[in-house]
């Protein structure tokens, strides 16, 4: 009833889609070029370093800063030292982006404040171009032995609560914004936002197609994403296959997972005539169960895919890893592929017909159940790719998908529920808003901005940006 487009519009829409992708790319490239000139001007006007690490030494018990601790920062930009002030903080400037190892001098620590938690000294800190005051926090407690390494703490192992760490982020504290630093920070955020938007889009298009063809708000869509990420970790992280095999394998398994869900759960429930709201609550139950199956199998800790943090493409203040660039290109190709399938192939046209009017599609000889099956397989594969991409983009965990689920919902609501193109547009907007908002609001609130935007859009235009106007009340 909601979905996309009437057949006659398809050519126009595909042109629009290509135009928008080209626009995105040109914004990225043009933006980078501008960023470059901005970087040059600052470099010539001031010799100040653009990056810095904020070392903060605090006591575990009452979180009071510990003064006069000497700090050593080692990494690509050489070795820098500093001493913590009265508040326990020391800002150490570093000249190059990269990974730094931050060490505090344990010999100089007074015995009554104790020593850092095991395995936290030295701490690894990743600094990207333009990041200021990247936090490296040490908690001291008399309970800890000096120079202690080992013993993974069991804090997070018993009953992990979701969302505990992803949103917290390791980001930068907002530095005072001046005209120069504004643009220096603007371009990297814009590019990161576009990349993150494409990532969300991969998952959102699938969720939107499922909503369009079956009317189901799938709360377990995040788990399709996590599944893909964990499969990629299984193949490349544990078995050690190269990414070029591991990623397609994860996608194929993701597709199979989607197939299995539809065959095992959703089709039988549709046959039983279960209403949409109970079905939605079933997806919630499934999402809870799957999440904890993942914990059981892969453990509660953060996992990383083999990845190089070396900058691959550096244009001005924008510094991208190889996986960022490759991921963006693959995502654009896949999204164009999906658009082609939706507009040019028989099954794609059938999908849009089913989303438009299920009864009519069925009456005109379309095998609705087969179309829905294909949608589930496709959505599973797309979500798996999104998961792989999240794994490379940050790190992955049992609740990776759950933590971006609301962003996926925001994207499909923003674009217009059930419209695949709307989901793409919505996702890119979400990615941009999320990252650009950090220029003005605290980094920790970056998940809040797209959710607020979604609520506002719903109030003024409930059918979404690309949704067709209809009665939604």
């Amino acid at each position: 009833m909601l979905a996309g487009i009437r057949p006659g519009q398809s050519a126009r829409l595909i042109a629009m889609l290509i135009a928008s992708v080209v626009l995105c790319l040109s914004v990225v490239l043009g933006g980078s070029a501008l960023g470059a000139s901005a970087a040059e001007t600052t470099a010539s006007t001031s010799t100040a370093t653009e990056q810095s690490i904020l070392v903060w030494v605090r006591t575990d018990a009452d979180k009071v800063g510990v003064a006069n601790v000497s700090v050593t920062v080692e990494g690509e930009g050489g070795t820098e030292t500093g001493v913590t002030g009265a508040d326990g903080k020391a800002v150490v400037p570093v000249s190059e982006p990269g990974t730094y190892s931050v060490t505090i001098d344990e010999d100089a620590l007074p015995a009554e404040t104790g020593y850092p938690r095991p395995s936290t000294n030295p701490a690894e800190v990743e600094v990207f171009a333009g990041n200021t005051e990247v936090p490296a926090i040490f908690f001291l407690s008399p309970d800890n032995a000096k120079g202690a390494v080992a013993a993974p703490t069991d804090e997070s192992t018993t009953t992990p609560t979701p969302g505990a760490s992803d949103e917290a982020g390791t980001g930068t504290t907002t530095a005072p914004v001046t005209a120069d630093t504004f643009w220096l920070r603007f371009w990297p955020q814009l590019v990161t936002g576009l990349i993150f938007g494409l990532l969300i889009a991969l998952a959102a298009i699938g969720a939107s197609l499922i909503y369009g063809t079956t009317g189901l708000n799938n709360f377990a869509h995040g788990e399709l994403v996590t599944f893909g990420a964990l499969m990629a970790y299984l193949f490349s992280g544990i078995i050690g296959l190269p990414a070029i095999i591991a990623i397609p394998a994860a996608m194929i398994l993701g597709g199979l997972f989607g197939w299995a869900q539809d065959a095992g759960i959703w089709r039988p429930l549709r046959k039983r005539g279960l209403g949409l709201i109970p079905m939605m609550i079933v997806t919630i139950g499934l999402s809870l169960a799957l999440r904890y199956v993942f914990v059981l199998l892969f453990g509660p800790d953060r996992l990383t895919l083999p990845n190089s943090t070396k900058p691959f493409l550096v244009i001005g203040s924008v510094s991208l890893k190889f996986t960022d660039v490759a991921g963006a290109v693959i995502a654009i190709v896949v999204i164009l592929g999906v658009a082609l399938v939706l507009t040019k192939t028989k099954i794609g046209k059938a999908m849009r017909a089913v989303s438009d009017n299920r009864a009519l599609a069925s009456a005109s000889g379309i095998n609705v159940e087969r179309v829905i099956r294909v949608v589930w397989v496709g959505s599973g594969a797309l979500a798996a790719l999104a998961g792989v991409y999240v794994g490379y983009y940050q790190s992955l965990r049992w609740d990776t998908g759950a933590s971006i689920l609301l962003l996926i919902f925001a994207a499909i609501t923003l674009g217009g529920l059930g419209s695949a193109y709307g989901a793409l547009v919505g996702a890119v907007i979400i990615g941009l808003i999320m990252n650009l908002s950090t220029l003005w609001i605290p980094e920790n609130l970056k998940f809040v901005a797209p959710l607020v935007l979604m609520i506002i859009i719903l109030l003024v235009r409930p059918q979404g940006i690309l949704g067709r106007k209809e009665r939604v009340g």
Binding site: T157, P162, R272, G285, V293, L296, L406, L445, G473
Partner: protein, 325 residues
Amino acid sequence: MNGNFIWLAIGQIFDPTVAAYALATIGLVIHFGFTGLLNFGQAGFMAVGGYAFAITSVIYDWPLWGSFLAAIVAATVFALILGIPTLRLRADYLSIVTIAAAEIIRLSVKTPEFSDVTGGSEGINGAARAFNDVNPLPDGRFGLMGTPLVYNQDQWWIRIVGWGLVALACLLVFLLMRSPWGRVIMGIREDEDAVRSLGKNVFSYKIQALILGGVLGGLAGVVFILPRSLQPDNYGTQLTFFLYTIMLLGGAATVFGPVVGSIIFWVTLSLTDGLLSLGIEAGVLPLTTTQTGPIRFIVVGVALMLLVIFRPQGIFGKKKDLHFA
């Protein structure tokens, strides 16, 4: 670990956390079961109530009644902010807006920039001080009829007040649903247009129901934080999903369903934990003790799915009240 876990499970029947979950679920029953509002942000109402209580009592040193009032007012304001714009939209829009609003609350109170007031990700400690000051019970530890269930005076105080509030809420819902007001909101659940054609202001009734259920959620947030410190991450979407499980367990349109559902939910969690640990210690189960946590929640998830599919009316519900299947 030995037979003690059975007493631990029985102790859940009086536990203040169980009372808090029951109270929040009674609010949800007003929203979802009786009015048909798809509120996925009950965790947000609990957070708003809990924070309003803790901030006013710990940071601004308000008297106890002031803090309770603050929790009620905050939940009312939150309901108005959510309800006025969204209650005119289709049901699934309300669900997305409420779940997003709950997350906005959780992420906002967590952010270090507001930590002077909200305590950031550390939360707020010691909100129970004013509450325990008015405790009329004599100091000491009291057992329950010779059982190993022994609590001190503050633990008894919160148990009495928590379950007292649950009893009051049950009574309120019981009376309301027999009043003309209750018949109107149940009418809205069955057929909004029919009620509108009778000249009732559907929107106003929906807002009233949202506020009433939200205030119960806010009070549940207060009961929830009194025996522990306030932690922002306790109010994730998962909390709302647990409340839905409890509601569907007892019956979505029943008065006492939430109470029984909450007790069954927590006793089952506690028993599974005990049994799993017992099995692991005896070497029967090929698991480690850290894996018992996830297994309990897999059980919750699967139970939620099976309930909705095979017994959507819950334990006490009647098939005819089943508006959503």
